[in-house]
Symmetry: C2
Subunit: 489 residues, 2 copies
């Protein structure tokens, strides 16, 4: 399928004319529309699905923000812009974008205020347990590795996941509903069941400007003019097997691609078709969601060498990203007492591969180098006795003697465990969402936000939950605000 742009001169008649066309009505697109209108532009939204929300609607919609948000303050956490900046730069590794991270850290508290001003509800409370998401209506929770080594030694931790005030895993639907109402209140035309096919440009080549969009609607192609430009908020590409194979094939075998069915990379491809630069295309979130129950964190992960390889209190995405690079098999070794409600509460789906009334009995059922698990467990237990995990610095709160009876879960990819993943690469953009060109500078009239762009989150091993919805709403809002100024004189 070609996303090659169409020439304006070839448009026989226009079906509509507006300042800003927004492709995709997830969290990024909604915030782009709201901000564009509030900045004085007219806007329309083109959405392939029959309803709004995109992958935001499917998510838990924790929103990762810090630096002293009103909720952090109300609950009693002192967070700082520098702590957020430091943590996000470090956890996103050498490919972190300092300008984007700086804006996100400095603008975090204000962005939450803005969401609250739109009616998004947050309760000044905290969920203290180690959880993948809050199923209560409490707000703050740790959604990254802030309290885990090595970050805790470098940046003052604070919970930055902001869960909406709603019971159950309903943050995504509630956020979607509120953003939809806000967009509708502003009278933004929303074209559902409408697929963006190609950008329209004034000319081909390096000097081109994006002036509109070809849309398939009601079984025909229609042409919409965008006076100030187009914002691509069409999600990532995890649902496009060809693109995944081309750019990040490690996310195919034994992984579960998560997102909405329209995360096909069409926004990225439309950008590439007019000379956009794509970056970080090999990276993605890749998790082993092994809590709840939180008690599994008392266990130890071991690889094919029978060695530990990570502090088990790290964020599940960090553990998943480390895990796939180990020699296999990989097991989680637990006291049966900590197995708890695994069968009813867990998302992990890793099969029980061995149990043992003694360590010897457990070992006999596992495919490991002889004697090594014993060394590893003994070492861990002597560290527990001393109160310090000298190897991986797991927090003392999660140090507990491993003792019989034991159980081992097989977390080897392919053995049954759930490895959800999605992409973190996309179009390179300025901090305001203008799409960078392979010719240098930016492409006139083209913006991108959310996972169509490469934003703040850039690494699977440093990902924090809530940084996608946080980044999508933040970058969508900035792009909408900025494009409203485009062409204004």
């Amino acid at each position: 399928m070609s996303f090659a742009p169409m020439l304006e001169a070839d448009v026989a008649s226009w079906s509509g004319d507006t300042d800003v066309i927004i492709v995709g009505f997830g969290g990024a697109g909604a915030c782009a529309a709201i901000a564009a209108v509030d900045s004085g532009a007219s806007a329309m939204i083109v959405e392939a699905a029959s309803a709004s929300g995109g992958s935001t609607a499917l998510s838990s919609a924790e929103i990762y923000l810090g630096g002293g948000t009103q909720i952090q303050k109300a609950v009693g956490y002192e967070d700082s812009v520098e702590a957020v900046f430091g943590y996000l730069m470090d956890s996103n590794g050498p490919q972190a974008d300092a300008e984007k991270v700086r804006a996100y850290a400095e603008g975090g508290a204000e962005h939450l205020d803005w969401l609250i001003s739109l009616g998004v509800p947050f309760k000044p409370s905290e969920l203290k347990e180690r959880a993948m998401m809050a199923l209560t209506d409490d707000c703050l929770l740790y959604t990254g590795s802030e309290k885990a080594w090595p970050y805790k030694t470098r940046y003052k931790p604070a919970p930055r996941g902001h869960n909406l005030e709603v019971e159950g895993d309903n943050g995504g639907p509630l956020l979607t509903k509120i953003l939809l109402e806000q967009v509708e209140e502003r009278g933004v035309p929303i074209h559902y069941d409408s697929r963006a096919l190609r950008l329209i440009v004034d000319e081909h080549g390096p000097g081109q400007r994006v002036v509109g969009l070809v849309v398939r609607q009601d079984m025909e192609e229609r042409y919409f003019r965008a006076q100030r430009g187009v914002v691509l908020c069409a999600g990532g590409f995890i649902m496009n097997e060809d693109m995944v194979r081309e750019y990040c094939p490690q996310f195919l075998d034994n992984k579960t691609q998560i997102g909405n069915p329209n995360d096909t990379g069409s926004g990225i491809q439309m950008g590439l078709s007019v000379g956009a630069r794509a970056i970080n295309m090999h990276e993605g979130f890749l998790s082993l969601p092994f809590y709840p129950p939180a008690t599994l964190t008392f266990g130890i992960f071991i690889n094919g060498q029978g060695q530990r390889f990570i502090n088990e209190d790290a964020y599940h995405g960090r553990i998943g990203s480390f895990l796939v690079n180990q020699s296999y098999p990989v097991y989680l070794i637990l006291n049966v007492a900590d197995y708890g409600n695994y069968e009813t509460e867990s998302w992990l789906q890793a099969p029980v591969v061995a149990t043992g009334e003694t360590l010897d009995e457990l070992v006999s059922e596992l495919n490991l180098p002889p004697g090594q698990l014993e060394l590893t467990v003994n070492r861990f237990n002597s560290d527990v006795a001393e109160g310090v995990d000298t190897l991986f610095h797991k927090d003392t709160a999660w140090l507990k003697t491993l003792e019989a009876p034991f159980v081992a879960l097989d977390c080897t990819p392919g053995a049954g465990a759930f490895f959800p993943c999605f992409t973190l690469g996309g179009l390179d953009t300025t901090v305001d969402g203008a799409v960078c060109s392979v010719h240098g500078g930016v492409i006139a009239g083209l913006y991108a936000a959310g996972r169509t762009a490469c934003g703040v989150p850039r690494r699977g091993d440093g990902y924090a939950s809530g940084s996608s919805v946080g980044d999508a709403t933040f970058s969508g809002r900035r792009a909408g605000r900025r494009i409203a100024l485009e062409g204004a004189s």
Copy 2:
């Protein structure tokens, strides 16, 4: 600097007209020129430097080929196409290109015959020691991890590095000299000190065809027409700090970028400027060249947890790529007896950080978790006594008891050790070198080979020496042969 293409209509006068223009006169460009002419086309070469050779001239120019080459047969090795295919697919991981690997495996023996037919000398002999390169005039050596776990258990090993019959590290210069003579014999005009600036296209946009090249020569811009097209053989981008920061920033800090000064990615950028697709841009070769002396292989690498993390008999690039992902510090622990001629023979430059008449004395000087190195060394020594490395499957030839006096080399990145690196991403091409377009299909009149393209070698942890010069000469030759047919009717 913009590489935006120029329109043919804007060319006031042409300075030359040929069938095929080749950008870059390294191994890929030379073979493209020879093959194009031998297939009936006229050709010219544009080279930014004052002489030929590119990064090929700076390399040792082992050439990685197998499947039963005449040298392998003469020395007595049975190698098979399937063994080469399997090893290269596996070691290049999920991003391996099966079609390119298949062609390379099937065509290896014939490609060596072709090089020999050009006058490239290979002696039917083998260098049996573990070496980074052959400093004798012997031919065959193991230049990957074929004999190392896990590959040795999966594919029948054979040495596939083919070193030229020349004493010293002079393979690159000799190969360059021979290829230059072959190109000159064919009367191919060579423009040295001539920088390719931009492609010339018949029109902008998706239907464009590459028809020529803008060249800066004698302080002016000149325009050359290419009736059949342009082959980009301009090397990789390791010398372009902006591009490295954008696509593979892990190769900046504490690494040494190796290549020739014109490995600035200009070929890749010219491709991107006409809608080419770049892939695998995050990947590269990253080595810890810790042998010679080969005796260092008797030691063990340990990470910040005091644990081993790899079989030390693996290829140096595999070890370097694993090493950088460990918790630091990383040490190589040795018997002093195996330290040998480290100071005079080694490329490693890792400082001696500790010595010890006993293990306790060594440990006291290292920054490691208390007691862990003792466990690791005892485990290794008991494995040595049993003759099996149960953890990492280091070959028995390299198993030797660790015993006092000891020495530890600090291999932590930043501590002084040498980490050479270069890029393995580039333009996506067909097996014949046609450049793939973001619009689907290929770009008319545009080919790429060598490190401007993304070829057979794709991963640092699976790299084998000689696969760059092997792939460059192989892919350059195929592209030259194919482009000669372009436009022929």
